[in-house]
Symmetry: C2
Subunit: 644 residues, 2 copies
C-alpha cells in the first residue's frame, strides 16, 4: 500500500508565499512546508502538542484525509495543524500570520542596556592589525616573502616567529607586491586554549596597503529561539549595529530537546546546522546592510550559546546531552574557521566560542556571568537566565555553583493557548482598571494583539491574582469577572475580543495556561532554592540578583515576585542585565585579556544536576502554588494578598 | 575561421592504450593526448625542441595537416612530434615506448644505501600514540568528553592542555563510547615552527580501543623528474617499503622553468598541482600494496622537494622564483592537512615540509645536508646534488654557503638525441674493448638499449675521451673509430645498431650531445669553483665530497673527474649519499628532535646567486673543455690523457 501511495503525487500550494510543491500521497503537511522552504512555527517539533502550526485550507479535500490514523484535534473547523495533516488531495493552504516565523521580526529589547557590570577590563581586542612597509626584494636581499614578513614583524613590533595560516602563505606573493611592499597583516593574539599559553599570536590575514582603519568583529549569542548579534568596530570599541533574528530551527521544536531529537533522524543534525547557519548569515546580512562596512573587514567572530545550540552549529553529535549522565562533547572548543561551517564571512575568520560548563549550562551562561562581573565580587550574587531552560548560578569571586531547571516553554509563550514569542502584537503588559476591573492591555509595537508573550503572561496572572480573579491555587474565581467563561480547555478569561485582535479570535488565558506557568515558575524557584541550600545559603543572603535573558527589561520584578518566580527580597537588589550572553561576547571581542577570565569562570563553576535530586522534587511540589505553599518565604506578597 | 574550425570535430585514438578522444579541428596533438590522459614524454614542455614526444601515425591524413604554419621537422617520415602536430582529420596514432612515461618505471637505485652519515640522533618519532582507559561518564562525573580526555592525558602522561584538532572533537562522542571508553589518541609532538616552541603537541586523531601497534608515516622526496617515497613503521623505526614513480608533470617540461612557465597559463598551476598529487597518490597506492598496512594507519607525512616542486604542490604561485631577484614564497611552511591538497591519506594527516633556503636551493638540499651530517663536522664538506638544477653546498658545523647551477637537463638525458631518464633500457655503462675499440654497453635492467641516461653519457664521453675518439674540445676524431659518421646533427658515434635496440633505430651520440654535456658539467664545476672562492676555500681542502641525487651509486667517480665534472682530488674523499633528500625526510619522521636541526641548517645557509656573478661566467667559460682549460686543476686526468 505504501508503495502504491508513493506512486500518486499531489500538488500543494502555500499562501501567501504562493510556493508550490509536488509530494507523494500521504506526505505530512508540515514536512511538505519545510521541503518547500515555507517556515511554519512548530514549537513542539511536530509532535501535535503545541498547536502553533495552524494552517487554513483554501481548497482541497482535507476533511477526509487528515483524520486517517490521527486523533481528532480541538481546533476550530477551519483550522488544522500542519503537523497532524497528511496530504491526500491537491491542496491550497494559507499559513496564517501567527504560524509564520520567517516573516516576523522579534522585538528588540525595549531599553538598550550595556548589560555589563564587569569592571577593570582593558580595551585590547584580540585582533590587531599591523602595518608594514617592507623593504622591497633585491638581489642582495632575496629572502622568501614569509621570511621578509617575519623579519619586519620582529623588527617593527617585536613579534618573533608568529605562526601563519597556510591560506595567508598562498596570498603572500601577490599581496606583498600589489602596493609596493606595503601591507597590513592581521594577527589574532589569543589561541584561546583551555587554560594556559593563551597569548600565542597567529597571522590570519594580509592585505595590500594600509587597512588599519577597518577592523570589525561580530559578537553573537545563539539562542534556541532567537539569535542576537552585534557588529563591532574594533578600533573604536563601539557597537556599530545590533540585530536579532529567529533561529530558523524553530520549525523543529521550541526547546533544545526537540532539536536534539530531530538530530537523531537521518540528516537531522546537518539540517539543523544548515538552518542555524542560514539564520547567522541572515543576521550578518542585516548587520552589514546600510553601513559602509564590507564583509571583508570582518576579522573575528565571538560566539556564545547554550550547549545544544553550540554543538549543533559545530556539527557535534548532541545525543549524549539528553541521555544520562548528560555529557557534552566539549567544555572547550578550539577556534574553527567560520567558512568551514558555511558561515558567509571571509576565509580568514575564526569562530571563537565561549567555554561551557555542562550539558545544560552553556557558554551563554559563562558569557553572562562574565559580563555581570559576579566573579569579581566578595558578596554572593544570584544570576538567573529565565527561559525554556532556566539556568541559575550562585557564587562570588571564590566559588560558583550552577544548575539548569527545565521550566518548559511557558516563559517563551510555548504551551500557552495564545502564547507567542516576544514580537510585535504580543500582549506584554496588563492591568485592571480599579473601578470596573476591565483589563487594559499593552502590546509590543502597539499593534492590535495577536497573542501573549512570557512577560505578559506573568503580568496577567499576577494582576488577576492580586484582584482575586485567580486564586492562589491557580483556578479562576468565576464570581470575580464576567470575562470568565467555560472554554474547550476548561475555564478561561477573555483578554481581548475577536474584533479587537489581529487574528479574528478571542484571545484568552485558560486554567491550563495558568497551570503551565505555575509549573514553569515552580521549576525555576525550586532550582534556586535547591541550589542555595546545597551551599547553605539563604535567598536573603543574595547581595544581588541578576536577571538575564529574553525577558530583559520587560519583566516586572514585583509581578514576578507576586507569582513566586523570584524570591521575596528587597527589590533594589534586582538588576537586569539584558542579553548578558551577547554582552560577554562583545567583551571578549574588545578585550583579549578576558579569555582567561572566561576560562576561569567556566572552570570554577560546579554543576549540580537537579533532574535526579530529591530535594528539588519536593521543593518543586512546594512551589506549585501562587506564590508558594510556604507563606514565610513570601512575606510581602502574602501580606498584600491578605490585604486585598 | 577559428570559430568555423571549432565546429568541426575529429576523433583521435591513441595506441597501445586504445584511448579515444573527440577534439576540435586544429587541436594540438600533445594537448589532445594530455586531455585523454595519455602521458607523452615532452621534456621541453611542448616547445618543439626536445623531440621526445614522438608519435607514430597508424591512420589519418597527417601529412596535410601538421605542416600548417609549423616548420618542417627533421624526424623520419613515419615519426612526428606530437607537440608540433595539429589535428585536421580523424587519427589513429601509436605512442612508441620511448615516448611513454606512465607505463615505464624508473630504475630503483642499484644498491640501497642508508644514505645517512648523521650521528647521535635519537629515535623519537614526532607522532606518538597514547592508550587510555577512561573512567566511564557517570552522574557524579559527567564532565565533557574533551575534558575527560584532557584530564586523563594529564594524569597518565603529564600532557596538560594539549590543543586538539576540531575534526577530532567531532569524533569524540562515538569514539569514546565505541570500545567502552578505551581509546588511543594520536598526538603530534612538534609544531615545526620556524625557530622556537617546536614542541607544542597537538591531538590529531582518536581511535577506539588500543591501536598503538599500528603507527606509520610516509617520507617523500618530490623531484622534478621522479618522486621517491618510503613507507615507515614508527614503532619499529623501519622502512616497510620503498617506491619510485615519475612526476606526471614531466609532460609539461623536464625542468623547473618549463613548469613555472606552464603555471602562468590559466589553470596551469592547478593542473600541475593535480598532476603531482596524482603521482603522490600513485606512490602511496604502490607503497601500501601487498602490505597489511591500511591507509588509516598513516599518521604523518614528511616531505622534501626543490622550491618549485614544493610551491606547486602547495598551490603557491611560483612566478617569482624565476623573476629576478628570485624570491620564494616561504622559507618555512606551516603544516598543511594533506587531504586539503587532494592527497589520498586520512583527514588527520598533516604534511610537514622541509624548510628551504632560496628559490633554487630547496628543502631537498636541507634534507640531504641533514642526513649527510655535514653540519656536525668541523672539517669542510662539499655537498652536491647533480641534476638539471645542480645544487652545491660548502661548509661545516659553523657556516654553510650554497648555490644552484643551472646545468640544463643533460644529466637526466634531456637535450640529448637519444637521452632518457634512468630506467630500464637506458645505457648506463660503457667501455671499449682494448683490442678492437668496439664498444661494450650495459643497460639498466639488462634490456636491449632504448637510449642513454645521464651517468651513461658521462661514462661514454669519458671512455671515448681517454681513447682519443673524442678530443679535449669535444669533437670526434674520425680517424679513431669506424663508428663515427656524419649524421643530421653533424658527426655522431654509433653506440648500438638498430637491430640491437628496442627502438629499431641506431642509437648514437652526437657532437651536439657532447657539447650539451660539456656545458652541463662546466656549469656544475664553475659553480663549485665560484662558491669555493667566495669563501676562500680551495677544492683540495674538501675533507669530504658528498654526492647526492638521482645518479646515486651509478655515477663513476673516476669518469666524472675525467670529464671535469668533479674536482681532481683523492678519490677516497668521495661518498655517495643516494637520495639524501629522501633520507632526511625519513630521519625527521623517526626523530622529532631533528626538526630543530633542519631549521638550523636552513637558517645557517647563505645563498649565493651565481646567475649574476661575473666570476661564475668566466669560470664557466674556462670549464668548457675536457676536463678543463686549466691543466693544473686536473693533474691526474691530464697525466692520464697525455699518456694515452
Amino acid at each position: 500500500l505504501s508503495e502504491f501511495r508513493k506512486a500518486i503525487k499531489h500538488k500543494v500550494r502555500f499562501l501567501p508565499d504562493n510556493v508550490e510543491i509536488i509530494v507523494d500521497r500521504g506526505t505530512n503537511l508540515l514536512s511538505a512546508a519545510m521541503a518547500a522552504g515555507v517556515h511554519i512555527n512548530a514549537s513542539c517539533g511536530g509532535m501535535g502538542v503545541c498547536k502553533t502550526c495552524k494552517i487554513d485550507v483554501v481548497s482541497g479535500n482535507l476533511e477526509k484525509s487528515h483524520r486517517e490514523n490521527v486523533p481528532e484535534t480541538v481546533l476550530k473547523p477551519e483550522f488544522h495543524q500542519a503537523c497532524r495533516t497528511q496530504i491526500y488531495s491537491d491542496l491550497v493552504v494559507t499559513v496564517p500570520v501567527e504560524s509564520r516565523l520567517d516573516k516576523a521580526v522579534p522585538a528588540e529589547e525595549k531599553k538598550k542596556t550595556s548589560g555589563v557590570s564587569l569592571s577593570g577590563w582593558k580595551f585590547n581586542p584580540p585582533i590587531k592589525k599591523y602595518y608594514l612597509e617592507l623593504p622591497p626584494a633585491t638581489g642582495d636581499d632575496n629572502v622568501s616573502d614569509f621570511f621578509r614578513l617575519r623579519r619586519e614583524l620582529k623588527k617593527a613590533f617585536d613579534l618573533a616567529d608568529v605562526p601563519i595560516d597556510f591560506t595567508v602563505v598562498r596570498k603572500l606573493p601577490e599581496t606583498l607586491r600589489k602596493k609596493d611592499w606595503k601591507v597590513t597583516t592581521t594577527i589574532i593574539l589569543t589561541s584561546a586554549r583551555p587554560s594556559k599559553n593563551n597569548n600565542i599570536p597567529r597571522i590570519i590575514n594580509i592585505e595590500p596597503g594600509d587597512t588599519r582603519s577597518r577592523n570589525h568583529a561580530l559578537a553573537v549569542d545563539i539562542g534556541t529561539t532567537t539569535i542576537c548579534a552585534q557588529l563591532l568596530d574594533l578600533n573604536r570599541g563601539k557597537i556599530v549595529k545590533d540585530s536579532i533574528v529567529f533561529n530558523k530551527q524553530i520549525s523543529y521544536g521550541s526547546d533544545v530537546i526537540s532539536r536534539i531529537n530531530h538530530c537523531q533522524q537521518p540528516g537531522g543534525l546537518e539540517k539543523l546546522q544548515e538552518l542555524v547557519v542560514s539564520s547567522l548569515n541572515d543576521i550578518i546580512h542585516n548587520l552589514l546592510g546600510n553601513t559602509d562596512i564590507h564583509i571583508e573587514e570582518i576579522n573575528f567572530m565571538m560566539l556564545a550559546g547554550n550547549t545544544t545550540m553550540t554543538q549543533i552549529l559545530m556539527g557535534l553529535e548532541p545525543k549524549y546531552l539528553r541521555l544520562a549522565p548528560y555529557t557534552p562533547v566539549a567544555d572547550f572548543l578550539p577556534p574553527v574557521k567560520a567558512a568551514s561551517l558555511g558561515i558567509a564571512v571571509p576565509d580568514h575568520v575564526y569562530v571563537y566560542t565561549f567555554p561551557s560548563v555542562s550539558s545544560y549550562v552553556g557558554g551563554d551562561i559563562v558569557s553572562g556571568v562574565l559580563s555581570s562581573g559576579m566573579h569579581q565580587k566578595k558578596k554572593i550574587t544570584f544570576y538567573m537566565d529565565i527561559g525554556t531552560n532556566g539556568e541559575i548560578v550562585i557564587g562570588n569571586s571564590e566559588w560558583m555553583v550552577t544548575a539548569s531547571c527545565s521550566a518548559g516553554p511557558a516563559f517563551e509563550g510555548g504551551g500557552i493557548k495564545f502564547g507567542m514569542v516576544a514580537m510585535n502584537g504580543a500582549i506584554q503588559d496588563f492591568s485592571l482598571t480599579p473601578a470596573t476591573l476591565e483589563p487594559r492591555i499593552e502590546t509590543i509595537g502597539r499593534e492590535r494583539p495577536r497573542g501573549i508573550c512570557g512577560s505578559g503572561l506573568i503580568n496577567i496572572i499576577a494582576e488577576l491574582l492580586e484582584a482575586g480573579v485567580i486564586g492562589q491555587d491557580g483556578k479562576f474565581n468565576s464570581s470575580k469577572s464576567k470575562r470568565i467563561r467555560e472554554g474547550l480547555d476548561g475555564n478561561e478569561y477573555v483578554l481581548a475580543w475577536a474584533a479587537e485582535t489581529q487574528i479574528g479570535q478571542d484571545i484568552v488565558i485558560t486554567e491550563v495556561d495558568i497551570d503551565n506557568l505555575i509549573r514553569a515558575k515552580a521549576a525555576m524557584y525550586a532550582g534556586c532554592h535547591t541550589l542555595s541550600r546545597s551551599v547553605n545559603v539563604d535567598c536573603s543572603e543574595f547581595a544581588q540578583v541578576i536577571i538575564a535573558g529574553n525577558f530583559g527589561n520587560s519583566l516586572n520584578i514585583e509581578k514576578a515576585i507576586t507569582i513566586g518566580l523570584l524570591p521575596d527580597i528587597p527589590r533594589d537588589r534586582f538588576t537586569f542585565i539584558g542579553n548578558g550572553s551577547l554582552s560577554g561576547t562583545r567583551l571578549l571581542s574588545f578585550s583579549s585579556g578576558l579569555f582567561d577570565s572566561a576560562n576561569k569562570i567556566a572552570r570554577m563553576m560546579t554543576n549540580i544536576e537537579l533532574s535526579e535530586n530529591n530535594d528539588f522534587s519536593s521543593n518543586y511540589i512546594a512551589a506549585l502554588f501562587l506564590p508558594h505553599t510556604d507563606e514565610k518565604a513570601f512575606p510581602s506578597i502574602n501580606a498584600k494578598l491578605r490585604k486585598n
